[in-house]
C-alpha cells in the first residue's frame, strides 16, 4: 500500500514518536500540568518548551500560542472568538468558497448570529486574488479568514502581500495554516497575520492537538469559546494533554529544521508525479497551480472520461483521497472543485495525491503506473475493449459486484452488434450500453457491454451479458432478482433498476419462444 494521503494525516515524525514514547514510558504517576506540586510544575515547564518549539516554527513568541484540540477548534475559536469580541450583529466577515469545511461551517453559523459574510470565488486554479479581498472590504469588516495552502488543491494564497494591506485597513487577518506549516517558510515576525491556525497531525505530530496563534502586538482580541478552568490565559479552558503537546513540540522543531530541504524534495517528486501521469493520460486536468504557486506536497488532478468511484476502487494499492478526508463521509463531489467550475462528474473523477516526508521516488513511479493502468482499464470498459483484470479485494463491495468489476469478460464493441441498447440512470452519471446477437428464433446467443459508471454499473453490465448468453429460460425483468443476484445494498438499488430497465428493453424477445 502506497500512502499518498499525507494531507489527511501524516505519520508521526520519529522525533515526535520519541517524545511521546519518552513520556508514556516514564514509570509512575503522570501529572496534570495545572497542578502545583513538583510533578505538575515540571510538566508545565516542559509544555512551555514545546510551546516555544511550535512558536519558533512560525516566527511567533511562545505566549502568542494557545493550544487547542486541533485546527478545527483553532479555526472555530479564531472566527467565533474574533466576531464575538467585536460584536456579531452587523459585523462583516470575508472568507472564500474553498476554505476548509470548519471555516465555512463556522462562517455559516456566524451568519445565523447576524454576521454578514462574503464568500470569495477562486480562479480556475483555486487562487484568491488579494485585490479581490481588498475590494470586498467594508467599513464594518472585522475579519478576513483565508487558508494559506488550499487543502485539496495546494494553491497558495499570497499572504505576504495581502497581510500588510489588511493591517493598513485595520482589518484582522486569520490564516488557516494547517497544510502550510512545515511545507512553506512562515515568519510571523515579518508577516502581519493576526491569527493563525496549526494542526499537529498534518506536520508529523499526533492528532488531537493544534494551536492558534493570537498576536500580542498589536493585540488580536478574542472571546473564549470553551469555558472552564481558565487554562491558556483564560482563552481555552481544559486540561492540557501533555503527551500530545510534547510530541507536537518535537514535531514542530523537526519540521522547522527540515522545511527547506523537504519542500524542495516534495516539489521535485510532485512534478515527477505530474509529468508521469500526464505522459500516460494526455488529457489529464491539473487542478493544482504550477510549481511556485502551489504548496509542494499536493497534486490534484481530474480525469475526464472515467467515473470517480470506479477510479478509486481500481486503485486499491494507493491510499489517497478524492478531496478532504473530513468530507469523505458525505461522498459528495468536492465543493472546492465545483467552485473551480468543474461539473459534478469531473469533480468526482478527481484524485488528490498528497506527499509526505517518507514518500519515495519509487512510490511515485508506482503510483503513476497504477493510476495510468486504472484509467486505461476504465476507459477500455467505456469504449468496448476488454480491460486488464485487477487482482484485489475490497470489503466495501459485495463479492458478486467486486469480482465482475475487477475482471469483466464481456466488455466488447457494442457498435458491432446488430441490436444495441443504451441505459442510463436518471441522474445521468452512469451509462451502460448493451450489444446483442440473436439467433433466428430471437433467442439471445451472445451479448457484450460498455459502461461508464460506478463499480455497480460495470458489474451489472457483466452480469446482464453473462445471464443473457446463458439464459436457458426466461430472464425476468425484476430489480429484486438483480439485487439478490449481485447482493446490491439498499443505497445502490438504483443500479438494479438500471438492470431492470435493460431487461425490459430487451424483452419479450429474450424469453425463448
Amino acid at each position: 500500500m502506497i500512502y499518498l494521503d499525507h494531507a489527511a494525516t501524516t505519520p508521526l515524525h520519529p522525533q515526535a514518536a520519541q517524545a511521546l514514547r519518552a513520556w508514556l514510558d516514564q514509570p509512575g504517576a503522570q501529572a496534570n500540568p495545572a497542578s502545583d506540586h513538583a510533578a505538575g510544575r515540571e510538566l508545565r515547564a516542559r509544555i512551555e518548551q514545546a510551546r516555544a518549539q511550535v512558536a519558533a516554527l512560525i516566527g511567533a513568541q511562545p505566549e502568542e500560542l494557545l493550544f487547542t484540540s486541533g485546527a478545527t477548534e483553532a479555526n472555530n475559536l479564531a472566527l467565533k472568538g474574533a466576531l464575538e469580541f467585536r460584536g456579531r450583529s452587523g459585523a462583516h466577515l470575508v472568507t472564500s468558497r474553498i476554505e476548509h469545511r470548519c471555516v465555512l461551517d463556522s462562517a455559516r453559523w456566524l451568519e445565523t448570529q447576524g454576521v454578514r459574510v462574503s464568500y470569495l470565488r477562486p480562479d480556475a486554479r483555486g487562487r484568491i486574488d488579494p485585490a479581490a479581498v481588498l475590494a470586498e472590504l467594508r467599513p464594518e469588516t472585522v475579519l478576513v479568514s483565508l487558508m494559506w495552502v488550499q487543502n485539496e488543491l495546494g494553491s497558495c494564497l499570497p499572504i505576504e502581500r495581502l497581510a500588510p494591506r489588511l493591517r493598513e485597513r485595520g482589518v484582522l487577518l486569520h490564516v488557516d495554516a494547517a497544510q502550510a506549516a512545515g511545507k512553506l517558510a512562515i515568519d510571523l515576525a515579518r508577516t502581519p497575520v493576526d491569527l493563525l491556525s496549526l494542526s499537529a497531525h498534518k506536520l508529523g505530530g499526533p492528532p488531537g492537538i493544534g494551536a492558534l496563534f493570537v498576536r500580542k502586538r498589536p493585540r488580536a482580541r478574542l472571546s473564549p469559546q470553551l469555558h472552564g478552568g481558565g487554562q491558556e490565559q483564560g482563552m481555552r479552558s481544559g486540561t492540557l494533554p501533555a503527551p500530545l503537546i510534547l510530541a507536537f513540540g518535537a514535531a514542530a522543531a523537526a519540521a522547522a529544521a527540515e522545511q527547506p530541504a523537504l519542500a524542495a524534495r516534495l516539489e521535485t517528486l510532485r512534478e515527477r508525479l505530474w509529468q508521469g501521469l500526464r505522459a500516460g493520460i494526455p488529457d489529464l486536468t491539473r487542478n493544482t497551480p504550477p510549481a511556485g504557486e502551489a504548496a509542494p506536497q499536493l497534486l490534484n488532478v481530474s480525469v475526464p472520461g472515467v467515473e470517480g468511484e470506479s477510479l478509486r476502487a481500481r486503485l486499491p494499492a494507493l491510499a489517497l483521497s478524492s478531496g478532504a478526508a473530513c468530507s469523505s463521509a458525505t461522498r459528495e463531489p468536492s465543493y472546492v472543485l465545483r467552485a473551480l467550475g468543474h461539473d459534478d462528474a469531473l469533480a468526482e473523477a478527481s484524485l488528490r495525491y498528497s506527499l509526505g516526508r517518507d514518500t519515495t521516488a519509487a512510490e511515485i513511479d508506482q503510483a503513476i503506473q497504477l493510476t495510468v493502468a486504472a484509467v486505461q482499464a476504465l476507459r477500455d470498459i467505456a469504449r468496448g475493449v476488454p480491460p486488464a483484470a485487477l487482482a484485489a479485494t475490497d470489503p466495501r463491495y459485495p463479492s458478486p459486484v467486486w469480482q465482475r468489476f475487477c475482471a469483466p469478460t464481456r466488455v466488447g464493441a457494442v457498435a458491432a452488434a446488430p441490436e444495441q441498447h443504451e441505459i442510463g440512470t436518471r441522474a445521468g452519471r452512469d451509462r451502460l450500453w448493451l450489444g446483442v446477437w440473436r439467433d433466428a428464433s430471437g433467442r439471445v446467443q451472445q451479448a457484450c457491454f460498455q459502461a461508464l459508471g460506478s463499480p455497480y454499473t460495470i458489474a451489472l453490465g457483466q452480469w446482464l451479458c453473462e445471464s443473457l448468453s446463458a439464459a436457458s429460460g426466461p430472464l425476468q425483468p425484476s430489480a429484486a432478482i438483480i439485487r439478490a443476484a449481485l447482493e446490491i445494498p439498499e443505497e445502490r438499488a438504483h443500479c438494479a433498476l438500471m438492470g431492470e430497465e435493460a431487461l425490459l428493453a430487451l424483452s419479450p424477445p429474450v424469453i425463448p419462444a
Binding site: M1, Y3, D5, A8, T9, P11, L12, L20, L24, G28, A29, Q30, A31, N32, A34, S35, D36, H37, A38, A39, G40, T68, S69, G70, T72, E73, N75, N76, C102, L104, D105, W109, S199, H201, P206, P207, G208, Q225, L226, H227, G228, G229, G230, S237, G238, T239, P241, A242, P243, L244, P316, L318, A319, L320, S321, A325, C326, S328, T330, R396
Partner: protein, 376 residues
Amino acid sequence: MPVYLDHNATTPLDPRVLEAMQPYLAGPAANASSLHRYGRRARHAVEAARQQVADLVGATPAEVIFTSGGTEANNLALKGVLAAAGGGLAYGATEHPAVMEAAESLRATHPVSVIPVDGGGAVDPLALQTLLQQARPRLVSLMCANNETGVIQDLPRLAPLIQAAGAWLHVDAVQAAGKLPIERETLGADLLTLSSHKLYGPQGVAALVVRAEVPLAAVQQGGAQEKARRGGTENVAAIVGFGLAAELAKSEQDQRRAQLAPLIARLDEGLARLPGVVVFGHGRPRLANTRQFALPGWDGEALLMALDRRGFAVSSGSACASGSGEPSHVLLAMGHDRVTAKGAVRVSLGRDNRPEHIEQLLAALTELAAVPGAVA
C-alpha cells in the same frame, strides 16, 4: 519518586491501555474519515471504542460523542442543548468550572440559575424543587461526585424531580466514572460527561453521552465527524485508549474499590486524630478515593508546598484553578469561610497507592500539624 496522591487531577496511563494504543501511535497514519484501507481500519477502531465507552454507562454507541476533553464535553452539553432547544439552565453551586463557566457564559442569552448546596455539599431536594418550579429550566447540570470534596450527589433521588419538571439532566460524571457505578438509567441522566484521563486513559479525549431524543446543536463546527455534532479529525489512538480504559473501569470497578477501602479507612482514621482538622463533606457519602481537609493555621498552598517538599503530590483543590489564589468556590458554596476554604488540601488516591503511602502521609501531616503553617 514522589508519592502521587492527585488522581483526581489526572491518573497515570494504564500500561494495558498504552499497549492497545500502540498500533495507532506507531502504525501507518490514518484519518478515520479517509475511505482507503488505513482509514477504514481506524474507523473500525473508533467504533469499537465507542461501544466500550457506551457500555460503561449503559448507553448505545450512537449516543456517544467523542470530544477533546471533559471541558469541551461539558461546554457542548450546556451550550448545545440550549442552542438547540432554547430555555433556561440551572446548575449546582459546586459544579466543576467547566460547567460553571460554560453556564455563566450563557447568562447573556439564557436565564441561568444556581442550585444551592447544604454544608455537606449536597443539593437539597426541597431547594431544587422550589427552583425548578420558579425558574422552569430546560436543562439542569449536576455532577455525580465532586472533584474537590468527593461528595456524591444523590442523583437517583434528584433526577425524578428534574424529570417531573420537564427538564433534561446533564451529569458531569468525570470524577465518578471508574469509582462508582454510573449506569445512566440509575442516575437519570439525559446527558453525561466522561473523561479518559481520570480513569487511567490518555489525556486529550473525553465523551459526551447524549440520549437520542435530546436535541443538541454542534458547538464546534466543521466536518461531518461525530454525526455532525462535533467537527474535527478523530484522535484515533487516544480514542482507542479511552475505550479500553472505560472497559477496564467497568470490569475492575469492584476490585479497585476493594483495594481503596482499607486505604481510605486508614486515612480517615489518621485525619481524625489531627487536632482541629476540618474534613470537608465529613459524614457524607464521598468517593472512596477523595478526601479534602484543612489543618488549623495552615494555608492550603503552603501545606501543599510543604507536602511537596516531603515527596507527596497533592492538590489544594481543582487542578485547573490552581494558582489563582482564590478560595475554592465549592467550599464557599458549602458555607465555609474564606480562611477555612483557603486551607483546603485534597488527597485523591488511585490504583498505584499502597498502605505505606497513607502511613507516610499521615506521619508527615502529624508532623506539620504541630508547627505553625506560616514558617513552612
